[in-house]
Symmetry: none
Subunit: 262 residues, 4 copies
DNA sequence: AATGAATGAGATTTCATTCAT
DNA sequence: AATGAATGAAATCTCATTCAT
């Protein structure tokens, strides 16, 4: 099932990639694409082709020759850019996460309140993964398990992506809008886990409406922000209770006092 | 890529069916297994072997010959009981769900309160899937997508399993312990989605403690039962309202008092 | 039972196509075979190997691995050139027909009379198929029935081959050597059907002689050209009848004459 | 591809069959089927089932289990009656030939002239094989080649069948209706070969008409009976013979006359 | 005599990966 | 740097035949 390389592959790739963007300013401008640009665009084409196949057919059914055809390169060329099918899939995931992070950050920046930010993030995530569910299989399976996932590009990009959510949540806590209850990783898992499960349900429904998405998003945000979520004033339930009790007691004493006096 | 069965399979399959011959009591008891018993035990052995391979190596890397070897039968025999690899995987899933449903129901029955029931279900699910994460891949991928998933055995067993959760939730709502907010399917997705995502995090942690599991369970149940869950003293919203009314009334009287005095 | 190709095959296949690159003359001649030449020769080798196996062991008993071994290539390579076993068998048939047509045309061109042409064709066909009877099974069975036979290469080549016979017959009719009786397809079926059946008989005879072949050929041609074929004296039955009647009448007159005289 | 038995099979079959019909008269009549009758009917059922599968799906695609199912017996039972798939197929062929021979003989007996007999035989053969073309594949391939064909039941039955044709032809020759030209086996091959080839053409035609069948039959018979078939004036061979005798007699008298004169 | 579960050799086909050009 | 033909291990699935019951 797996045919791992028998000998180390002589590829210059990483170096190439890292060298990119280096002293771009010093290069003399030219209309014809430079070698570096050509290489980059070819890599992009391969990733785009792989992305398309992966999302439409899934990992197992996607073949390297199919990707090569779509990308307009020879099969052998794929191995010049990526050491194997798994690495290529990981690159696709990395790009996916990069884009996702980008749009998430941009969208969040436009939101005023924590609530709005969370709502945006939830909807954004849900809508994004609905079209790329096959990509998520990758995360849960082979690509993630086979080789060192931690330390890989995908892992890093994933951290960066969820960090957007973490920042929003921490901001909410700091400003007292969200109770500092559970550990952040737990909230994170609840957030993304719920959304991915909902995606499956949505996909199974014959016709999933915008309303369904909205309902999921609303409920999730409500839960994460504390049931109090609808309150305008940010006083906690417990504080309120205490306060009421104090006032109640005070009123009682006043009443007794006045009753005596009168 | 896959070839689905062309003809009906000569298999004895389900226990229910085998029990049919009814007057088992009249047969003279014998220590040697009957033909039917052997068939059943063989099917069990195959499923057990498949389960083991599937959970340890995943669907793609599991081969039929590996399963046959583990089960102690010839490769061809597998196809006597299951029309293809997919069907076998589905049978494994069905057994998994059946067992899961059984233990879930039993456990829930022993719990007194809705809270306890939910906590039990959450912990039970989390602990169960930690060892069988590869099995869950199946649900999310091939087995689910390839053929008519809806209407399949797995689908039915899955419905039965989640129904346990649904019943608990509905019971809680009915008894006023849980707010009847979002649609049931949303709560369900939040519950199971959160747990499965948490499972992944737990598995990635070098050493996931019992405390982590407990924390996830607690937080999830808190959210589903409404934030009120954490209060020490059980003052209900209704109590609070009453108190506010009292304070309001007291304030009114104070106002009158002061009006008299002044 | 059979799985037909799902995707286009990366094959160089036909000679015509390869000749396309046109300025072959400008290329500097080299002794080492070019890539294209190697591809073509490999295809030829595969077809030759398949031909050998097919004719000696028949379709069912011929295995792809056997062909690969004979051709000196890996099994997978076969599928680079032919999408499956059926397609390979059809290619073998196509080559067979091509060669057959070639030699038939050449031979016919050398013959003077229609009779000679038919005799040549009959003998040529009979001798050709005696060594390749297993190939003919293909035509009558799987290869022909499984997929769209009509429109296939084999079909076209077969049409081309039988056209040689058709032309000869039509020529004979046009020149008045053959009576324009039955439909052409009927004559064609009689011609080829008789020969193939005779082949079987010949093969069953412990020692089939040249004389047997000659006898079959002679008889068949005689029939197709009209019974006149065997007459030494070219007098028809009708002529004979007339002659007899004339003699009869003459004898009668003589008798009367002599009776008077005497 | 072939899995021939590894050891001789302990079957009583032949003996059983031959013993049949033995002293039938001595058996006491009974309404319930005897053991022998049951065995015979089971064999018949198997052959009938095999015949159906063989004619509709061909040899390769017909499976023993399919036959067993259709015949209403267990797979193992097939091997009690026939040593392997090939033998079963041969039995089917034998039955086919037996029936064919029977109907051929009956039909021929009802015809007055040689011409009519041939026409009947041709049409009968053509119509019979059109529905059973898959059976004919057997004759041309495996069944015939694999084991000792000569000496087998099929071979004998085939001889018996073609003997019907042979008899008709020999009768025609003896009565002077057919020229005694070619060897009988040649005429036989022409007859059956032409018809089987025509069958293929007929099957390929989108809609083969009765007229097509009639045309083939007419042409074939015309050829076999000699071109005489087309004569306009009906002077029979017998007339011709008489005339010759008269001429001969006349010549004799003339000789005598001249002897007197001289 | 009958059964039918079990066998296991063997067939076709796929495709990630290599490497000579 | 690019190609793409070649590889060959490995996977799934079939089915004639056997044999314990």
């Amino acid at each position: 099932m797996k045919r791992e390389p028998k000998r180390a592959m002589p590829r210059a790739k990483s170096a190439e990639k890292n060298a990119r963007s280096a002293k771009a300013g010093t290069r003399k401008p030219s209309l014809a694409p430079t070698r570096r640009e050509r290489v980059q665009s070819k890599e992009d084409a391969i990733i785009a082709a792989a992305h398309k196949s992966l999302t439409t057919r899934g990992f197992a059914k996607t073949t390297m020759s199919e990707i090569a055809r779509k990308a307009g390169v020879a099969e052998g060329t794929l191995y010049l850019y990526f050491s194997n099918k798994n690495a290529l899939a990981r690159a696709v995931l990395a790009v996916f996460y990069k884009r996702l992070t980008q749009t998430a950050k941009t969208g969040v920046a436009k939101c005023a309140t924590t609530r709005e930010k969370l709502e945006f993030l939830a909807r954004h995530h849900l809508e994004s993964i609905i079209g790329e569910r096959r990509l998520l299989e990758l995360i849960a399976s082979d690509v993630r398990n086979t080789d060192a996932y931690e330390g890989s590009d995908v892992y890093k990009m994933n951290r960066e992506y969820v960090a957007v959510f973490d920042d929003v949540m921490r901001g909410g806590v700091w400003r007292g809008e969200i109770e500092d209850g559970a550990a952040q990783w737990i909230k994170r898992d609840i957030f993304f886990g719920s959304l991915e499960y909902s995606m499956r349900t949505l996909l199974m429904k014959k016709r999933s409406s915008k309303k369904d998405v909205a309902a999921v998003v609303a409920e999730l945000v409500k839960l994460l922000m504390g049931g109090a979520g609808v309150r305008t004033e940010p006083m906690s339930n417990r504080d309120l209770t205490k306060a009421v009790e104090r006032v109640d007691a005070a009123a009682l004493r006043l009443e007794r006092l006045s009753a005596v006096k009168m």
